[in-house]
Symmetry: D3
Subunit: 253 residues, 6 copies
């Protein structure tokens, strides 16, 4: 009997949007999408569209002063009508929800993982990822776009003299992508319709040199074996390499 797993290996499983199981969605990365921020990137992965801005500020928060080290934080948010049903604004509800908190912290951690805080010096970079349209993978798309905005902000700071030109502030490139298990088949880069049916959902942030900065794999639906984990990581590596190629192209323009 033919197994989905065998089809997977031959590339015969086709998804709702016509993609192969190991194929990422079309990606566009527009730099300088708005004028004010030191870095401003509109990234689109399939129908997911995120505005990532990087704000460079000389100086660091009080608890970090006189350490000689910089700081990088991130805030993630969704516009109320990024989703098919309108979501109430967190500002109106008066508090930031758990999901928002969790994703904001994730983005910040991942970016800090590739920044040399000593080379950055006592300067702060605040990343804002605002989801204008959501169709799955908003947190990984945010990371991939934010990296480009971060790189632009650091370039800006070097031109303005806040950071010495010869400092290698960014230690490595970073991108992120989601993988998941659907009907027992590991798949790459899930849109909302697939994500909501996944037994397992994993987000993988990887550096340009192929090491992991963050792996978050959740199996509310069905626990996954070590073997499946390895298949998922293989897919994630493939996807991240492709995203990193696109990041490099965008930054080269």
């Amino acid at each position: 009997m033919v197994q989905i797993k065998d089809l997977l290996k031959t590339g015969q499983v086709v998804r709702a949007d016509g993609r192969q199981v190991d194929e990422i969605r079309p990606v566009t990365i527009e730099r300088n999408w708005t004028d004010a921020p030191e870095g401003s990137v509109l990234i689109q992965c399939g129908n997911t569209r995120v505005l990532c801005t990087a704000t460079f500020t000389p100086g660091v928060p009080r608890w970090r002063r006189d350490s000689g080290l910089g700081w990088v934080t991130a805030e993630y948010s969704m516009l109320p009508r990024a989703t098919s049903e309108r979501t109430d604004r967190e500002s109106i509800r008066g508090k930031v929800g758990g999901r928002t908190h969790e994703i904001s912290r994730l983005i910040g951690r991942v970016l800090r993982g590739v920044v040399d805080m000593k080379a950055l010096g006592e300067n702060q970079i605040q990343i804002d990822c605002d989801v204008l349209q959501a169709d799955g993978g908003t947190r990984t798309t945010s990371i991939t776009g934010a990296y480009v905005a971060l790189a632009d902000a650091i370039e800006w700071a070097k031109k303005k003299g806040y950071v010495a030109e010869n400092k290698k502030v960014i230690k490595d490139q970073v991108s992120a992508i989601s993988v998941g298990v659907i009907d027992g088949t590991p798949m790459l880069d899930l849109p909302y319709i697939e994500d909501s049916h996944a037994q397992t959902d994993m987000n993988v942030a990887m550096t340009g040199s192929g090491a992991f900065i963050e792996i978050q794999g959740t199996a509310e639906g069905a626990p996954y074996t070590r073997e499946t984990l390895n298949e998922l990581l293989d897919l994630a590596e493939k996807g991240n390499r492709e995203l990193q190629e696109l990041q490099r192209k965008a930054l080269a323009e």
Copy 2:
């Protein structure tokens, strides 16, 4: 001696961005900018860029039930880095600021002023105006864009059968523009640099038939006479007629 006022009449006063005192900034209105909302408009007035979405929901809030009437509300917000300095998110601060409240209420009132609530029936439309880039006139740009999103949402509702095709839900067109007095000279459509130096700042929402829905004129800097008021209203009428022409073109596409 030559007076600015005389130059104004001959059109000789030229502004930082090269415009005449009675000239509006370049405007673009893109419909269906995102997919999910029933109406989704990206409007750009000079460097001010606002995403206006309209969410149509069958049914009305509890206090309005069994009235046979619909309801329209609006929420305005700015992305943290829409401005030249980053502004903290209101969701993080845990409360909506006075300025945001004031503008949200203004947009809602103005749109309600052109909607026939009986024709709308017991349905609700929620307008979201998210400023992606701010360079003066964000509240008036929001109104002008929101009108187009509102019109699209009502068209959608008619196609879906929530509202009868023959109902004239929108009683009249509406747009808004800012005017102000700078160094004693009344001017039309102020960008941020002018707005912050204005002695008087006025926002005027006007219908297609030339009546006022909202006039808000503030003179923190210097009180204005009845004569100046009349000059400002003349400018606002000119600007609104031009914006309404652009709204009609966008809706005709």
Copy 3:
């Protein structure tokens, strides 16, 4: 056929409380109503009763320091049972509502419009307007009363030596009144019963020299023409002149 408009001109239209359309309600202004504040005024317009206090504090907020300029702010609030139905306290709900924010900002702007910040020097005046009983026109009554409290606080500061006696801190007198269109007829100083039926509602703050500091005209009910606007402004000018006469009398006592 006799038009309401013609009756208006002859003063024949009579209102629920027996007033002419261009007649203000009875006004009393009591200074020093409480002991602690530097200015403390109980103002009553018809059944609307507001306690306006002015708190003078040497020094200004951090963002204003070393500017040589003073600052004036205002906060507006209603007691829960100022209204016919009890309103929940905003302190209990944990947030300030949009209407409160909007009115507080309005009062502050208007008062700042008549204060010479340089003459005030680096001192702050906080205005508190607490509505003890509400029957329409609470925001305009607040402005009219707050002006008197402000004047008293500045007198106090001069006597205490915080402000030099010869400084003209108050550039001009200011008062405010509401006007509106009811059944097509422009009317002056609307009580709650009229206000809630007005097609158009306008609040006009005017200086002693007859210039405008703030015009806020809203037409949720029916847009208004330039002609109606002019009639409303005529009424507002009449009302404000009368209120200013009463302010002067109160301050002369």
Copy 4:
């Protein structure tokens, strides 16, 4: 050697405002001070001035339904400039402070102590005590005034037919007064200047029949003996009897 205690017994100790140690401050109770509430009382004890309103609403909160019992609650608040230094509004700070909570709960408990919830039936009375001017004893003055407002609200409910005329809803009269120990001498009805120097501060709510509803005695300064407690209670009984006489007079008018 002459002891203050001996002077106390002979009435020779005189206070800053000229009162004897066992003398209450001048009290005025004005009923119907505002029009809207079912009970509205302006009470003044010395310089402390509190507006006490009672809101009668047919029906009870959900948790109390179908019990056949009514409910009484209270909220206490101070205007920002009731005090000599301006206090920030709790609505602006976004939360109710501990002191406000504590006093609101006290007032509610004491009034519930004299209301027959069965006779009240499934109706709710909300007491609002807003301190317009504070000079010590604001919580006890609130209780004393609130009782009168409560009585008026119940009278109103009987006239409107919400409560049967023959029901004895109020089981007993109640008033409250503060006592304290200053420099070792027990004193009655402390103004702010005395209160802030008291070693012991006690608030005593007492019924018309002379029983206690609430005793709150705090000794941050110096613990008090059983003997001192008894002296304080004697003073409180005297004060409450006098306040109750004034309540009865006010209600008889």
Copy 5:
């Protein structure tokens, strides 16, 4: 006819848990229950179990600086499932409830009543009382346990040299217990089942020398006479003497 009061005197009234009316519940006091705090006490009174910790911090809040005086505060809280029905967390609800505020303030006041702030010097002690299991008397149990934690924290500070060894920081011992009137009978140390049926509920904090620091007696159910008050205070004195014996034993270990 035999009266409950007479039975009381002969010790014949027996309670649900088999105790006499003047008998306290079994009490255990474990010091150093956790390692981190300067004082850490697990106290159990019957089924009520409270973790009381004392945090010693050199320095005082800004308003207290340069006074030469120390400061003591307390915070009380209940775990969600300390009670038979789960209570929502106040952190989730976003605000501290009135009851929590009231009790936190009570604990702080009582402890401050036995601390010599001058001897403590400019140091702060923060008491945290977290109720792990609640069965009546949580506030009095908190006080009794917190005293022991406070004593340990001061010992710690002396050993560390923050406070001179010879300073008598604690002026007197303090404990607290509840008393109440049930079916007309005054009883000592009420568990939840009794507390919820009490006509009168009183909490009494007393020093080792037998003086009162706080008396809080509430009679929502039925007002109490001076005679009953005296009986309740007799019981409270007995209970507090026994608790103080147990505190001394615990501190001597």
Copy 6:
């Protein structure tokens, strides 16, 4: 040259607390630690001590009704003095922090991963994990303890008849443990001192059958290779198998 990695294989690397790199800390699990909850477990891993309670409530939240499915949620919190420096209460700050949100969501997801919601039926289980003392691994200790409390609550529900005795509500056992890389060496079960120096920190929740429910690996310090990931997962499998043995023992008592 001897590598730490080689020492690791021979078990020669010894840690601050004397453990081998692949050794877990001493664990105790006390069931029924408090009386009220349906499940109540005090778990101690090294010096980390967490009270885990499970509240069983018939019925589910509104959005889940008529689905035939149950629901499981979790809330995590730390007492203020669980840590060596006191942490302000989130209830006082008025909002739940990002870390708390993230961990609460993690615990809930992991437990839902082993519960058969259909077998649970329309019933809700709320897990509360309150950290009484924190020394690293509080989130994994919470999961390990919460599983036992959950099992007890389901037993309770079966005895009470809310869930049929023959339903297999719990699909599999689950526990969690932390692993991390310190100075290049992967280690098992990090206390605070190690955790704060880890280059990589990973939390692994695993079922009794050896599959993963959640992997969260963060590398703020230094990205980790696929090889290191595999070593970490090997350690985590060993640790979880040992914890699961202890869970089974505790549940067998």
